[in-house]
């Protein structure tokens, strides 16, 4: 069969489309089933937002504590640096000792940053 890049491309998307529509159908089916079997009584109270038995007050936008920010930032840093570790990890043997040493130097430098953050007291929760 002559396969141009376009038809290959479209075929792989066909798989995705079938998969996606299956997902929608399944969810729809389950929701429909539960609609058939569940009791159906409307009450105004049911439409209030539930907040552990307390009446909901205040604005929807609540500002989170600023200290979360440092943790988020640290997480993003280390998370993204992993982008360099994954390719290495899949082929560890091929890179041999050179790759191992290289990666430990890389991780060592990253750890240095973590040690620094820890000593400066950023990791404390207060």
């Amino acid at each position: 069969m002559a396969s141009s890049p376009l038809s290959d491309f479209l075929r792989s998307y066909l798989t995705a489309a079938i998969f996606g529509s299956l997902g929608f159908i399944l969810v729809g089916l389950l929701l429909f089933l539960s609609y058939l079997v569940r009791p159906n009584r409307h009450q105004a109270q049911k439409y209030l937002s539930y907040e552990s038995g307390v009446d909901p007050v205040g604005s929807l936008w609540s500002q989170s504590q600023i200290r979360y920010y440092i943790f988020a930032l640290l997480f993003v840093m280390f998370d993204v640096e992993a982008v360099f570790i994954f390719p290495w990890a899949t082929r560890v043997e091929a890179y041999g000792v050179f790759g191992l040493v290289e990666m430990f130097v890389f991780i060592g430098v990253l750890l240095l940053g973590l040690v620094y953050a820890w000593r400066k007291g950023v990791l404390k929760w207060a």
Binding site: L6, I66, Y69, L73, V76, D79, V80, V83, F84, P87
Partner: protein, 98 residues
Amino acid sequence: MLLNQFLLLAAILFSIGVYGVIVRKNGVLVLMSVELMLNAVNINLVAFSTYHGLGGQVFALFVIAVAAAEVGVGLAIVLLIYRNRRSVDIDQLDELKG
């Protein structure tokens, strides 16, 4: 040829990003617009690397990592300004002029 579609997508994303940087007043939204521009670059690089080998994909990885560092610093500066001025509106930054 599928390359054109990807380049077009990247060009559109890039233009949206440029528009956002120029028009938006909120510092955080400007940062997000810059991210759009960088992701346009990544799409370009990966699309080209289909034809030119892996250099582009490696470049894209570096762009991702550096962008994270950039945004980290950017958010820190935005936060610093918020602490001093209680606002992240960059059009209000007008102490220095001339």
